[in-house]
């Protein structure tokens, strides 16, 4: 992935996260705490959470194309960094007092579940796409079999110049 592609992806992800957090705050807030009011500082929460959720994307950047195993390791590292970031925000929100281990566990579990679900959905979409491409490939090879002699064996001939 080129640097330009990476940053386009980074910015796109950031604004997606900010939008989804704002939407989640609106829905959950209306359902659970409809009387709660906030000051202007509330606008900063989705922006900050979005940044914390997006900055770990930096570990996925590489000038050369990563192998599947390398990418998997980096994705695990990304998840760990997101977990740390979200827990730091929660700690900051608790005004410095230590968080209840149960809340920490639930929060970490939620982040993991969302991340795992996102990765799984993305993989399932790719799987469906790969299956469709497999069918298209079989058809493509059948249609072009006449113009291809890949079933025949050719003996490479050495070239000599007079």
């Amino acid at each position: 992935m080129s640097g330009r592609e990476f940053w386009i992806d980074f910015i796109r992800t950031y604004f997606m996260i900010v939008t989804l957090i704002t939407l989640a705050m609106c829905i959950v807030g209306k359902a659970m705490m409809p009387e709660q009011t906030f000051g202007y500082e509330a606008f900063a929460a989705p922006l900050l959470n979005g940044l914390v959720g997006t900055i770990p994307n930096l570990v996925l950047y590489s000038k050369r194309e990563l192998k599947v195993k390398e990418l998997l390791v980096r994705k695990i590292l990304q998840l760990i960094l997101i977990e740390i970031g979200i827990l730091c925000i929660a700690l900051y929100g608790s005004k410095g007092s230590w968080l209840d281990p149960l809340i920490v566990g639930v929060l970490a579990g939620c982040v993991f579940a969302v991340y795992a679900a996102g990765t799984l959905i993305s993989w399932l979409v790719d799987l469906a796409s790969a299956k469709a491409m497999d069918h298209a490939l079989a058809e493509f090879q059948r249609m072009n079999a006449g113009g291809d002699q890949s079933q025949l064996t050719h003996v490479p001939t050495q070239i000599t110049f007079r």
């Binding site: 599947v68 790969a130 298209a136 490939l137 493509f140 890949s150 070239i159």
Partner: protein
């Protein structure tokens, strides 16, 4: 180098003749270009030059400014650039699947997902080639018969 083109009748075979003082890099490039157009690639192996049928090449890879042709049995080095081969082999079912690789679509056995929107092309030889996200769209188009 002077270029002369003579029209010949249908009864005579078409031919390209190169008259040169010595076998320079430029002449080798011209020969390679003509051979590629005829379905042959020129590759080097252990200091010897070989003609390889395009249909025998499974994929082409650029590594450290060198370009290699991979057949089922051998790996040949070619003097042609990857972008030149991309243009020349477009009509021979080759497609770029990453920054450094072209693959022969007729040599792919199946496609499976890799992470982050990328795909893996499993070749008939069992080798796996990564198709980067940028080129997945091009592959879909090529398989639908659309021009990439």
């Amino acid at each position: 180098m002077e270029i002369k083109i003579f029209k010949v009748g249908k009864e005579k075979p078409e031919e390209v003749e190169i008259r040169c003082h010595e076998m320079t890099e430029e002449v080798r490039e011209i020969v390679a270009f003509v051979k590629t157009r005829q379905g042959q690639l020129t590759g080097m192996l252990e200091g010897k030059q070989f003609e390889i049928a395009v249909t025998d090449v499974a994929y082409v890879e650029a590594v450290d400014n060198k370009v290699f042709l991979y057949t089922q049995k051998q790996v040949y080095e070619t003097r042609q650039k990857l972008y030149e081969l991309e243009e020349l082999l477009r009509e021979k079912f080759f497609l770029r699947v990453s920054k450094s690789m072209l693959v022969n679509l007729m040599k792919i056995k199946s496609i499976k997902p890799a992470l982050n929107g990328r795909m893996l092309a499993v070749l008939k030889s069992g080798e796996e080639i990564l198709i980067t996200r940028k080129y997945v769209g091009d592959l879909k188009k090529a398989l639908r018969g659309e021009r990439v």
